[in-house]
Symmetry: D2
Amino acid sequence: MTDFFQDLKPLRFDPDGADLAFRHYDPDETLMGKRMEDHLRFAVAYWHSFAWPGGDPFGGQTFQRPWFGDTMELARLKADVAFEMFDLLGVPFFCWHDADIRPEGDSFAESRRNLEEMTDYLMDKMEGRKTKLLWGTANLFSHRRFMAGAATNPDPEIFAWSAATVKLCMDATRKMGGQNYVLWGGREGYETLLNTDLKRERTQAGRFLQMAVEYKHKIGFEGAILIEPKPQEPTKHQYDYDVATVYGFLKDFGLENEVKVNVEQGHAILAGHSFEHELALAAALDIFGSIDMNRNDYQSGWDTDQFPNNVPEVALAYYEVLKAGGFTTGGTNFDARLRRQSLDPVDLVAAHAGAMDVCARGLKAAAAMLEDGTLETMRAERYAGWDAPEGKALLESDLESIAASVEADGIDPQPRSGRQEILESIVNRFV
Amino acid sequence: MTDFFQDLKPLRFDPDGADLAFRHYDPDETLMGKRMEDHLRFAVAYWHSFAWPGGDPFGGQTFQRPWFGDTMELARLKADVAFEMFDLLGVPFFCWHDADIRPEGDSFAESRRNLEEMTDYLMDKMEGRKTKLLWGTANLFSHRRFMAGAATNPDPEIFAWSAATVKLCMDATRKMGGQNYVLWGGREGYETLLNTDLKRERTQAGRFLQMAVEYKHKIGFEGAILIEPKPQEPTKHQYDYDVATVYGFLKDFGLENEVKVNVEQGHAILAGHSFEHELALAAALDIFGSIDMNRNDYQSGWDTDQFPNNVPEVALAYYEVLKAGGFTTGGTNFDARLRRQSLDPVDLVAAHAGAMDVCARGLKAAAAMLEDGTLETMRAERYAGWDAPEGKALLESDLESIAASVEADGIDPQPRSGRQEILESIVNRFV
Amino acid sequence: MTDFFQDLKPLRFDPDGADLAFRHYDPDETLMGKRMEDHLRFAVAYWHSFAWPGGDPFGGQTFQRPWFGDTMELARLKADVAFEMFDLLGVPFFCWHDADIRPEGDSFAESRRNLEEMTDYLMDKMEGRKTKLLWGTANLFSHRRFMAGAATNPDPEIFAWSAATVKLCMDATRKMGGQNYVLWGGREGYETLLNTDLKRERTQAGRFLQMAVEYKHKIGFEGAILIEPKPQEPTKHQYDYDVATVYGFLKDFGLENEVKVNVEQGHAILAGHSFEHELALAAALDIFGSIDMNRNDYQSGWDTDQFPNNVPEVALAYYEVLKAGGFTTGGTNFDARLRRQSLDPVDLVAAHAGAMDVCARGLKAAAAMLEDGTLETMRAERYAGWDAPEGKALLESDLESIAASVEADGIDPQPRSGRQEILESIVNRFV
Amino acid sequence: MTDFFQDLKPLRFDPDGADLAFRHYDPDETLMGKRMEDHLRFAVAYWHSFAWPGGDPFGGQTFQRPWFGDTMELARLKADVAFEMFDLLGVPFFCWHDADIRPEGDSFAESRRNLEEMTDYLMDKMEGRKTKLLWGTANLFSHRRFMAGAATNPDPEIFAWSAATVKLCMDATRKMGGQNYVLWGGREGYETLLNTDLKRERTQAGRFLQMAVEYKHKIGFEGAILIEPKPQEPTKHQYDYDVATVYGFLKDFGLENEVKVNVEQGHAILAGHSFEHELALAAALDIFGSIDMNRNDYQSGWDTDQFPNNVPEVALAYYEVLKAGGFTTGGTNFDARLRRQSLDPVDLVAAHAGAMDVCARGLKAAAAMLEDGTLETMRAERYAGWDAPEGKALLESDLESIAASVEADGIDPQPRSGRQEILESIVNRFV
Ligand SMILES: [Co+2]
Ligand SMILES: [Co+2]
Ligand SMILES: [Co+2]
Ligand SMILES: [Co+2]
Ligand SMILES: [Co+2]
Ligand SMILES: [Co+2]
Ligand SMILES: [Co+2]
Ligand SMILES: [Co+2]
């Protein structure tokens, strides 16, 4: 045991609300026939919680963690503390980038060896514990070599480095029993069109993803491959802009049945969408995979990655997740950072606990709305005309026949109320 | 002759700059082997210039045009004035919605007859004139029947009405020799997800577009079918969000070789993109069709549809148009409104003239940049590694082989300057 | 009785949740020693609920109300229906613009007579009813004469017309026992700086406001004068941008003790602020007056004026209201429009009822947070150093002495956790 | 001589356009009776050009400058290179933060000694050179001690540290002949209202600024004190939001005649304003001081601090500067960063040279527009009514008299065209 969290005790479910307890998250509560833990499938993000020093564009490190530094020994200390927090929270999953869990080596080979050693170390820690790996991913954006992209770099050597890194990370994910492998194209975009060959870079990205899928099948990795859309930041423009953009990209490279999306609230917001829109669209396109449940600030134009705190919004997100059938390999990853002023170890635990409670409340409300059924009944009524024989026939018809019948029948369609405010009030009964 | 424009004379090219002359737009000047008029292919938008009364959400009509009203006689007066302006400007094209050129009838049949009569009237006016029809389109968003969408309406009758209207408008476009037919899905989106079946509506939209394409082939319409992307407004969310979204939609419904896009600067901005991004992407995806050359205000979050006035921005747009091979059936439509305080007839003419000059300057700068070649040379140099045999082989390889060679060769890729500021200065030599 | 609302019955408080009942709004429930009704002081906005036809920039009227039209008879019918809704909801207040309640006349004098006649009619209706006037205001933005502003118009005649109108409206407000008089400068701004004399227009606005204050004192109007800040829309830039801007304006014209602000959530959002920020700032500057409790959509860049529906956000707003001492003359005006698809009379009633419940829940949470005291205790602890003698002395000191003591004492200040996530979780216990 | 810039030669004015020459910036060209150099008063920002390592929230250092590190020796090397660039560019000014020019010491006293030693070193370099100090400022935001603000910190010790630092920096600025002293309140704001006492923090900020002004007078510093407004980033909300907010703040603390503003384009944009708006408003309020001439990307919601590249926009900014009488103590500071991919020394020089040319073109256009006079004539005509006796009398009148005369005279004001498009075309003749 490290002494980082001092005398903090594992959090229990306590609806009466002691400090540092779950007031709403009861892993064993059953909703729609499934345990809450199995619905939510919470994961802690190694990077934000253990690797981020608290910097922003106008200031450096605020956190002073005893494990900060570039040695294997410190990497092990970091892992020790991480698993202590997983135990405190009782989370079933965590997620990592290679760069979070191992020090960068002086060469590719040394970085590989560091990664292999650290994944062994993490597997030892997982042994006998409940916390598993939700997904692994490669950090292809922090080192200066990636400044102009990874797969989409003008330099083929960097494509090669990136491809090799994805191989390592997918191997490591498989070794650790990870349930998904994620690609977030942090610098797969551009700073200025003036130096960019958009078409060429898009082709590189498509081929890169095909290689990743081919390798998955080759090694028999059973998990899902996920792309995480984001419109911009750090780049001026990122190719995986949003769910709809990723879908077109997948179709173009024949990958729409191979790859799904990991949707993050903050990235949805930056792209001009609500979180629930992106989730509903992913479900409609049959590419829904997993979520990053953090939020952006509505008054900031950058990616703040805050812990979720608004129950009604979270409820609408889980409503779409449940309508999509719930998570299979996916889960609820907190891709969330403490505010850089939240210096204390207790802040780290309390932030996760608060977020887990927010999600639990949101999930319960979502399940109740689905079981109540009013929303879905009203939705179905609105489209009932399309389920009638005339509606079905219409879609099989053609412009000329339709035009003839419009005149012949003298139709004069009348609008009907969309009942938005009433629907919003119905939601408010549950949240 | 009406007396609307009083004693205004047709505008001439006069670089020394009399009032109400073109200082830069010289239709006969040759650039890259083509007349400027044939490059730019300017079109006046009937709706903004002749049908818009000057209202906004906080106030009504400011313009008091003698042709405002709902009779056929006034519709003819409107057409007379429109063609007088086309003559003053010497524009080769105009564009319309059905609702701009004919009064709404009491029934579908009456509206159809009004449309047929007015298109005959317009064809009489076109006879012996240079101004042709760039494109026609159907207004499926203004009347209250469309409040919940046209093709994506929950009510099949409105789908039918809309389909019949598109048939009429495509017929009319073909009759008038129109070179394109445009669909802008003004209300093909939603106000709230709570009452919306996203998947169902998307399917309706896809089938609707297929019907339009089928009908085009049936009647032998030779023009292009174009979709105009827009992310939102009037809806909270529109299905044709941006070029990338439309591409995915076309792929899904097997229409990517049948339909192209009409890209508007203001809509690009609302979707979080630069205009040149949308143009470059459309070209990369081989769906570039035409442009609406109006601009939004960067400090406003809504669609202001202002006349273009920033030459450097317009130059970058035409640079992408020229790189894409220039317009074929497409052109430069001014989907631009006078500010509602610009009450005088001369404002209408001067706004178009100023915009045409801005475009002419932009086009000349774009052509000069392309002919100079520095930008393209620098771009090609940046990606040169991909044209070498090793680069080409890399895309044919696989993760495992690549990873092996990265270690075996001990590669350590070094970043190279992206030279953004130098490239921006090169552009500034031309604009 | 009109038949507009058909058989709807006055809404009662019914926590078990019949349809069209209040589940949370119980006027007589006491919080912090005051009845809920007296805390919230709800007002219905005459304009959005009874005068708005449902248009947007891309489509016209969707509502077809029997009172639409320009006659006195229809104005009386509108008033009849309005008061029927006030009765159904049991609201203590309503608000109007002159243009909402009377038809525009052919001359100023006729409009004045229409206003006087209609205010008499409204007073008859108020007789024996609970619903009073929260505030009146002048519509100085809809008619085309105001297209370039009212007080800030380049034409002195329009300043005069506007000044005369404010006189009428303040007279009418006083006559009807209104508790405030509001100025929203809908077109007090500009479309382009190129034709604008910013300094001159600002001076005009300042003098106009002084005249309004002078007139208030002259006639002995006891209510408060309120400015409603908004950053833009319909103008590109409005002079009353936000609370901080209005404060500087008031200071400049010596009016900071005479005028307060009416803060609207949607306008706060458009200006880049949270609602609670604007409320807290207004309280800190001692100019807090009243609120418009509607919301904007976070994904739209324009003013959607939707009914509030997010309880946690509303709770934070009322928390600031309560900390500021609650309303005196002010109240909670729903400056909210039905979505234009919400066609049915029941939508109008249900939207208000839902919003009243949202506010009631928010208020109860805010009161509970204040009574609990944890938030305020933690806030006070954070600043405790400033309450110590050294802290107080510091503000009385000077740079030179401070610099000397910093070195002499060798101070090395250490940052302390800001505890944001913990505070957010505390809030979530109450909402 | 260091070897950083290798064989680069001082840039000359060469309109025919050799590489790395000024095509438009001719320091000795006379405009409106003043040399171009004396109009523009260019300054290089020490921080972005010499201290910024190229990091962003998703990646670390990309620049590898030989002077990076924390020793006095490296600080001197940095200064040597900086002055070599000043010589290459022939800029008349530079600007610094204390943290840019000296290494942080282990105590306040050591930091002070480092600063004193480095300012001596810089003064030696200035000796015999043309480059002077435009302004100095204190970095009160990068070190973790400032994470919750400087003057507005909840901890009085940090207020003290900050006050002492401002004293040192103002001393150093005066010693070096600086013409202004700037305060940018990077963290004078909040991350969450929940832990913030807005009123108290605002009072601290006001008193802090008073102390700075008192100290200026005490030591006889002749330069101007400037505040640089910014709405947010790094904080969620910054107290110096924009020019209007700063004005209200200055009025409140009696400083409106003591302090002016340093306006940055990027910060104007983030606050929802155009750059020219902020400049025109500062001039109207008589607090215009200086400018930071960098730009933000219109598609990014964060502060990109790019070099200016759009001549028409820059022309409108200098138009307001010239209308305000031009700079006195102020100047044109490039608070601009290279893009982090622009790795080469030549990028640094070329970026400044390109920006200087953009500004020179903008200034020449602005001067030509002013000398031409059409814009100002048209503006004056629009307000002519206010210069007539009736217009003047109106502002001295009162609501009652005005209302009486509106009816008595039967006025019916008619709107006149605002001529926006024509004005935009006039501008386009010059840019
Ligand atoms: Co994120
Ligand atoms: Co994420
Ligand atoms: Co548009
Ligand atoms: Co358009
Ligand atoms: Co509003
Ligand atoms: Co309002
Ligand atoms: Co900046
Ligand atoms: Co700056």
